[in-house]
């Protein structure tokens, strides 16, 4: 799209819709959704659009990937590493450009999901069932009409769930899905959307999933051992329910949304050498209950002024059990987290070229816990107040130059409910500058660059976890520099329908990295600000789309080259002969080369999909020495789907085969991944 074109009116839209809109405008991500599915969502939001587009997966493209979870879908983004602790129920975290998973802000329907306890969001817990858009931003979303928290992470993942929309004359949408396949999977969901009057609509969505998580895996050495084992204690059961009320009035948009998630799962653990006649080795169980209610109101008060108010309350419970009959330390810990969040953002459209915004967020987090006597005696019951204030301005010149600058102030104050000593207050200023230049109006070429400095606060666990935490920790800082070029062109009436391409080069540093370090034995660790990492990388994306009569073909290619080196001071060797230095080694689990390829072919009501993910050789923790080497892995997935129309009812059938070559691989060492697996999905839309 043209970055310099101004169309005038800014329709007030909620944050959610904004993201959708941006997706509909189809910038850098993947091919647009077909027009017919969008026609009912009519929004123009050109003035508050992003200067630098994100990587996006949306609509049909996202659906075609048939991912198990959000984490699986993220494998198709460049510069993104997904850590998958083997299996269906295992922890899945995302790391963008090697900054560390705690630097990635995860947003659901416009508001960040936080985990004050450990700073990471387990993406394995987010269902793809009702997901409409996934987008990943390096730096931050370059849209200035946003909350201060949107400026506050080094990279951001936005998940946007489906918003109701209706075909002409329809007042209700009903959708039922049933899914089954390998690992004894049963997954059923129902969605009901209803239009209530001219401005209002509601949506309700329920999902139930159960899987044994059992699969065979094989470990072998050339000329050596060869063993096949079964991944056990990987079962998951969850119930998810969401309900929303959406209002779309001429000057005001609002949304209220409730979310409920309950799950019980086993943690299969590392598949290290075990099991010589001794049962009950890995019996760790985890229960989760997450509830949140969030609301957003956007109001266009005048042509030059709009504001947005968002609020959220989240209440999370987690129970982790290592039963006493396991051979290791018994544990039965309960954690309760609460969050209250309120934000207002104000957009001032000063003239055609210049706009500015102010945002202020208040956030309160608490963590309570119950565990062993020792744990309870030394647990401080932390509470944290965070005040975020952001000022941002953006300019969009007619000659193709757009720029945005923002300054974020973060104030953090911790207290202990039990009056125990906490970390000192933090007050930090962090800037970002983003520039984009489109030299020719119709050439489809633009150049972009950004600089961003941001930090992550030490989490409650980092600071206060009993027998681990260190309240003297400083924030962990990242600095990012990025330059890139993108090309985006569509050709009408030609078999070659369009091409989107981009290349970005970046240099990141992570300073005062918070890492766990042992003290006197394997049982006694603490947290320190020790690590220093430099990351140099290039992300390349290429997305041609073609049309051969009734056959549409889209291809999505991503490649990432990344050198992420550990220059931690303590890794410097003393120069003793015979001692190997690991200073400057590639950090664990970051491949130098990685990429993905996706081919989608559609013909009438048929859809065929092939995807390929490649992760190059990596090293596990502890330096680039032979014993830490991990083989590259690459998987190929196929899916075929067809939609049958019976009157106004649509029945969709999808069959999938994943990891078709049955590659035995690991993303994290000793956490084996599933081999070939199958799934079939039936979907009924009324």
């Amino acid at each position: 799209m043209d970055y310099y074109r101004k169309t005038g009116i800014v329709l007030p839209v909620v944050a959610v819709l904004l993201s959708v809109t941006v997706m509909l405008r189809a910038q850098d991500g993947v091919p647009e959704m077909p027009e017919d599915t969008l026609s009912e969502v009519v929004v123009t939001a050109d003035r508050i659009r992003e200067i630098v587009p994100a990587q996006k997966l949306a609509g049909q493209q996202l659906e075609r990937l048939r991912s198990n979870s959000v984490a699986d879908a993220l494998r198709y983004f460049s510069g993104v590493q997904v850590k998958d602790y083997g299996g269906i129920g295992g922890l899945k975290t995302v790391n963008v450009r090697s900054l560390g998973s705690q630097h990635v802000g995860v947003f659901y329907d416009g508001i960040q999901i936080s985990n004050a306890q450990n700073g990471t969001v387990d993406l394995g817990k987010f269902s793809m069932d009702n997901m409409e858009v996934l987008s990943v931003y390096n730096g931050q979303k370059s849209d200035i009409f946003q909350s201060a928290r949107d400026y506050a992470s080094a990279a951001a993942l936005y998940m946007v769930s489906r918003r109701p929309r209706f075909r002409e004359g329809k007042r209700n949408n009903l959708n039922f899905k049933a899914r089954s396949g390998s690992f004894d999977l049963i997954d059923i969901s129902a969605l009901w959307e209803s239009r209530a009057g001219r401005w209002l609509s509601t949506s309700a969505n329920v999902e139930f999933l159960n899987t044994s998580g059992r699969y065979k895996f094989r470990y072998s050495r050339e000329g050596g051992y060869d063993t096949t084992e079964v991944r056990r204690n990987g079962d998951v059961m969850y119930v998810r329910a969401e309900a929303g009320l959406f209002g779309n009035m001429p000057r005001t948009d609002f949304m209220v949304k409730g979310y409920f998630y309950w799950s019980e799962r086993g943690y299969p653990g590392a598949a290290v050498k075990k099991d010589y006649g001794i049962a009950l080795l890995n019996e760790d169980r985890q229960k989760d209950r997450n509830i949140f209610v969030q609301s957003a109101v956007t109001h266009r008060a005048a042509d030059f002024y709009s504001f947005k108010v968002q609020a959220k309350y989240a209440n999370d419970y987690m129970n982790y059990v290592m039963p006493p009959h396991s051979t290791v330390q018994p544990m039965d810990n309960h954690y309760w987290q609460q969050e209250l969040y309120l934000t207002t953002s104000h957009l001032f459209s000063i003239n055609r070229v210049w706009s500015a915004s102010l945002a202020c967020d208040l956030q309160w987090n608490s963590l309570d816990a119950d565990g062993t006597e020792m744990f309870n005696a030394n647990f401080i019951q932390p509470r944290r107040l965070t005040v975020l204030s952001a000022a941002a301005t953006s300019v969009n010149f007619d000659f193709g130059l757009s720029a945005q600058a923002s300054l974020l102030h973060t104030y953090v104050h911790d207290v202990s409910k039990r009056g125990m000593e906490t970390a000192g207050d933090k007050s930090e200023w962090t800037p970002t500058v983003i520039v984009s230049y489109t030299p020719w109006k119709n050439a489809g070429l633009s150049i972009r660059a950004f600089y961003k400095k941001i930090f992550r606060m030490p989490t409650f666990n980092d600071l206060y976890y009993v027998q681990l935490g260190n309240r003297n920790l400083r924030p962990e800082y990242t600095v990012q520099y990025n330059v890139g070029i993108s090309y985006n062109k569509t050709f009408r009436n030609a078999w070659f329908a369009g091409l989107r391409a981009s290349v970005d080069a970046y240099y990141n540093t992570v300073k005062d990295k918070i890492i766990a370090t042992p003290t006197s034995n394997q049982l006694v660790w603490t947290m320190v600000n020790l690590g220093y990492v430099e990351v140099r990388g290039v992300d390349v994306a290429l997305m041609p789309s073609m049309r051969f009569g009734p056959v549409g073909v889209t291809v999505m290619l991503n490649y990432t080259w990344q050198k992420a080196q550990d220059f931690t001071e303590t890794k410097k060797d003393e120069g003793y002969e015979g001692v190997i230095s690991t200073y400057g080694d590639q950090i664990p689990y970051v491949p130098v080369h990685s990429g993905s390829a996706v081919l989608s072919v559609s013909y009438g009501t048929w859809d065929f999909h092939y995807s390929f993910v490649y992760t190059g050789e990596r090293y596990m923790l502890g330096g680039n020495v032979p014993v830490n080497y991990i083989l590259p892995w690459y998987t190929s997935d196929l899916s075929l789907s067809k939609v049958f129309s019976i009157g106004k009812t649509e029945l969709g059938v999808t069959a999938e085969v994943n990891n078709i070559f049955n590659q035995q691989y690991e993303v994290v060492k000793w956490y084996p991944m599933p081999g070939t697996n199958f799934r079939i999905t039936l979907s009924l839309t009324i």
């Binding site: 260190n470 370090t517 003793y576």
Partner: protein, 389 residues
């Protein structure tokens, strides 16, 4: 048309790549490093084995060997000598000892004791012992301390045990319940002393040493000593040195002395924090890495105690400043003949560690990279036979 072909090619390329075989990881060869070609064999000690613990969950327990006849240190010798042993040595090597012609290794988190031929390091058998910790030998039997005793005695915290293994049949013949989370053991006369830590029962640490009669294999009584006990080292005069790790908060690490004639704790050395110790003659070499959660800081110290006078002879047995470069001392051994000594550095526990060899006067002779968390050293009188190529 040409462009179309290119895209077709791009789409097919990954498929083609998959058709090619990824290959399997080979059995990793050992890594010999010549560290000290000038060394000679002294006495009847021709080398030593070093067991690397490997961080929990990483399955990286590994075995290294140093050969005094060649001055070559060889990393990771187990895999290539036992390629068919699934997942090599396993997860967390916790103790190593030689008894008769066999090399015994306790693999803690893999829950077994590995028995090898001492000269070929060929696997003989594995003996399953849940959460096994340390080894001791007397006459025909091997004794293994283990955290995971029977569940039914205390359903909330599993009591510990000592397992008795017949070294001829290599089978478990008996077991004896001791305290909570038992650690090192020592044989004095016909009694087996077991240090109980209670490390899983924080803050209710165990504070006793169990005394087992080796004839009946029953616990006679428990000697109250101090909290969170770990190491045991008998001297030549019937005294047993016991280390306490403290609670990492208010109670510091200390050294205790038990008189084994009366089985009473007779002495407390308050100013001798103790993480690990080894006896050579009348010199007890000790290092300590004492951590406090109150200050979030740790203090490393070294000392030699004279077991006759019970006085600290020196507070720094490393004399050339090398100790400044040791992040976390983790293993300690003294050559019984030459008195040269070894200190290992576990660094950040996830990187390869370092072994430093010092002359008896405390100056560094050589250093070498080991596996992860180099910890346990055992000297051997029988040389390791080189692998036939």
């Amino acid at each position: 048309m040409r462009i179309r072909n290119i895209f077709l090619l791009i789409s097919i390329l990954p498929l083609a790549a998959v058709q090619g075989c990824r290959g399997e990881l080979p059995v990793l060869p050992s890594e010999p490093v010549e560290v000290n070609p000038w060394d000679t064999v002294s006495g009847d000690i021709c080398g030593f084995y070093l067991l690397n613990e490997g961080n929990m969950g990483s399955n990286k327990a590994s075995l290294d060997y140093y050969d005094y006849t060649t001055g070559v240190y060889t990393r990771n010798i187990y895999g290539e000598r036992n390629p068919n042993e699934v997942k090599d040595l396993g997860d967390v090597g916790n103790d190593i000892k030689i008894y008769g012609g066999k090399l015994w290794a306790v693999i803690n988190c893999s829950n077994y004791v590995e028995v090898m031929d001492v000269q070929s390091v060929r696997h003989i058998t594995k003996i399953a012992v849940p959460n096994c910790r340390y080894l001791a030998f007397k006459d025909r039997y091997a004794y293994v301390s283990a955290y995971a005793g029977p569940v039914k005695i205390d359903p909330d915290a599993r009591i510990g045990m000592v397992v008795k293994i017949d070294t001829a049949t290599l089978e478990i013949v008996d077991s004896c319940i001791v305290g909570y989370q038992p650690e090192e053991m020592a044989v004095v006369g016909n009694k087996l002393y077991v240090a109980n830590s209670g490390g899983y029962r924080v803050p209710d640490y165990d504070s006793t040493v169990s005394v087992i009669d080796l004839v009946s294999f029953e616990e006679l009584y428990k000697i109250p000593v101090g909290i969170n006990l770990h190491r045991l080292e008998p001297d030549r005069y019937g005294n047993l040195y016991v280390s306490s790790r403290g609670d990492y908060y208010d109670v510091p690490s200390k050294t205790f002395i038990i008189d084994t004639r009366t089985d009473v704790c007779t002495d407390t050395l308050h100013l001798l924090p103790n993480s690990n110790m080894t006896l050579c003659g009348d010199s007890l070499y000790i290092y300590s890495t004492e951590f406090s959660y109150l200050t979030n800081d740790w203090t490393v110290s070294y000392a030699i105690l004279n077991t006759v006078t019970r006085q600290v002879v020196t507070r720094s047995f490393i004399t050339d400043g090398t100790d400044d470069n040791i992040q976390v001392p983790y293993g300690l051994a003294v050559h019984p003949v030459t008195k040269e000594f070894f200190v290992t550095d576990a660094k950040d526990y996830v990187s390869p560690g370092t072994l430093h060899c010092f002359s008896p006067d405390g100056r560094r002779k050589w250093s070498v990279t080991t596996g992860d968390i180099p910890a346990h050293i055992v000297f051997t009188h029988k040389p390791l036979i080189p692998l036939e190529k």
